[in-house]
């Protein structure tokens, strides 16, 4: 399988700071997989994705060692435009990324930068608008729409450019429950299409875990753990200790396992339905056994 991203011995220290924010990162992200990144604040999550999308080192000053390659090309040597056609980045605060005065302009901005012809722009615009369900907002100012709509627009902007790699940095942290649901619906659609590498940093593990192929825990500038969601929480106390709270059904299932209500070989569920099924079975078994 081709790797979309390969990171070797990456170290990074921001200007005006004393400690390295990333310390010896080695990571391979296979093409068309979904990677969820979790961890407490200030542990290097955002720094890691900034170095994949080239903001580090192109837009930050600091000390850079090691390498990040996107489909074999080192990010260090690529131009901003080259990177933008390969990697799309959605920021946590959608408002910080507006560049235009209407949603429509905002959406075509990146496409115009890449020099697509007008027909192609229209085609990509329509597609991205369809996926993110913002067709009725095109004429509005990006500042006059709700937080959730803003974030959907921000995603549409990135989708429109059709990069093979899409990175989102806490895309739901500033929006309400309905808005969150919309975003995860979009992520689900993108994952199901299966033709894109997706990297998402998110505190909302409840929604993230069921989507991810792999979960990665950042701690102290290093990759502390990387595993498929089914096994990511095996060592639950340590995960909690790192400041990350598993889905409640997972926590409860872990308790069931520790208390002997389910067998030790039981894989911990992370999806709601799986969790309910496991709880129901455990309850039934426990009562039958009495």
């Amino acid at each position: 399988m081709t790797n979309a991203v390969v990171i070797k011995d990456l170290e990074w220290k921001y200007e005006h700071t004393t400690q390295f924010a990333l310390r010896g990162i080695n990571l391979e992200i296979p093409e068309n997989t979904f990677l969820g990144i979790v961890g407490a604040n200030e542990q290097g999550k955002t720094t890691l994705i900034n170095s994949i999308c080239g903001l580090i080192p192109h837009s930050f000053n600091g000390v850079y060692r090691g390498s990040v390659e996107i489909y074999g090309s080192p990010v260090l040597k690529m131009s901003g435009l080259e990177i933008a056609t390969q990697v799309g980045l959605v920021f946590a605060d959608p408002e910080a990324q507006f560049t235009a005065m209407t949603v429509e302009e905002e959406l075509v901005f990146g496409l115009e930068n890449t020099g697509y012809d007008l027909g192609k722009i229209k085609e990509r615009l329509d597609w991205a608008v369809g996926v993110t369900m913002i067709g009725d907002l095109l004429d509005k100012s990006p500042y006059d729409i709700s937080g959730g709509q803003k974030q959907r627009m921000a995603i549409a902007c990135v989708l429109a450019m059709n990069p093979p790699i899409i990175i989102m940095d806490e895309p739901t942290s500033m929006i309400d429950p309905l808005g969150k649901q919309f975003i995860f619906d979009i992520l689900r659609k993108l994952k199901d299409a299966g033709d894109r590498t997706i990297i998402v940093v998110e505190h909302n593990i409840e929604q993230l875990a069921p989507l991810a192929d792999q979960l990665l825990l950042m701690q102290d500038g290093q990759i502390a753990r990387m595993a498929p969601p089914a096994h990511f929480f095996d060592d639950l106390p340590n995960i909690v200790g790192s400041g990350v709270y598993p889905p409640e059904v997972t926590s409860f299932a872990y308790w069931l396992k520790q208390s002997g209500y389910v067998p030790p070989e039981q894989v911990l569920p992370n999806r709601f339905d799986e969790g309910v099924t496991l709880m129901q079975d455990a309850l039934r078994n426990a009562r039958d056994n009495r």
Binding site: F252, F272, V276, Q280
Partner: protein, 280 residues
């Protein structure tokens, strides 16, 4: 419980005339822990700003500890009674050091230098702001810490009621828990805490009472447990109870379906088994 904060027939229109709140009637006592929940645009933040007097009622009234927020010159009287932490810390940090920032409020109410320092130390400690950061310019702190400096700056005023708009935004789970544990300790010490939040697990774990708003009206106002046991009603404002609560509602054979936390679920699970055992 005598009402400390009385909202009566409150209507509020924005200055441009857009109506935002309709006939709100809420009465909050001296030691309550209340969560305002609902979709964006449902009026949560607007209601909380009416409660602390930043917004004046278009009609109806808001009375805090006997003080009508429409009165003239009530700002200073109100701040020691009701504190408000804004969602975005960057709007409320304007001093060039953390220490000055936290001391700003106490200085405004003319406390002595010693008392100001004592307030700063206490507020910083409880909000998790280390004294080593006192000299730092708030601008250079990471966002989670800026949020906590903002909270400390309000706490230093020791208002009887504290409203926190989205206390967990920008915080990771552990930091959220720290902030909430702290708010809980204040509540236990006799303060009234009002949070505006989208995080239902936070509501379930910490709040006693939930007021769900929808379209500028109160949809339901009851204990958190009672509110979360009406998922169909909550759907109107797109709020979902926490995952474990929803799971419990789906389980057959559980003696109670109104659990709010994983710990309560463990109890419910144990008692379901033992109840069965004692019956059988």
């Amino acid at each position: 419980m005598s009402a400390y904060l009385e909202v009566t027939h409150l209507d509020y229109n924005y200055p441009d005339g857009t109506p935002a709140l309709f006939d709100i009637n809420v009465s909050i006592g001296r030691q309550e822990f209340v969560a305002l929940i609902g979709q964006n645009g449902s009026g949560k933040t607007t209601l909380s700003k009416c409660m602390n007097g930043l917004f004046k009622p278009t009609s109806g009234s808001v009375v805090v500890d006997g003080i009508d927020t429409r009165g003239k010159g009530v700002v200073k009287q109100l701040v020691t009674r009701i504190g408000y932490v804004f969602q975005n810390p960057d709007h409320q940090l304007f001093n060039d050091s953390v220490q000055k920032e936290i001391a700003y409020g106490p200085r405004n109410i003319n406390l002595s230098a010693n008392e100001v320092q004592a307030r700063v130390d206490e507020a910083a400690r409880v909000a998790g702001v280390a004294p080593e950061l006192y000299a730092t310019h708030p601008f250079f702190l990471p966002k989670g810490l800026r949020q906590r400096v903002a909270i400390a700056s309000i706490l230093a005023l020791k208002p009887r009621t504290i409203i926190v708009d989205e206390p967990t935004t920008g915080q990771d789970m552990r930091q959220s828990v720290e902030v909430m544990e702290f708010l809980r300790s204040l509540w236990q010490a006799g303060h009234t805490i009002i949070i505006v939040t989208h995080e239902m697990s936070i509501v379930a774990r910490y709040a006693q009472r939930a007021i769900a708003l929808r379209g500028g009206r109160v949809l339901v106002d009851d204990t958190v447990r009672a509110v979360f046991s009406q998922p169909d009603l909550l759907k109107q404002t797109y709020v979902e109870p926490p995952q474990i609560t929803r799971a419990a509602q789906r389980l057959d054979g559980l003696s109670r379906h109104d659990v709010l936390t994983v710990e309560e679920m463990q109890d419910a699970f144990r008692s379901a088994i033992s109840a069965e055992a004692s019956q059988g």
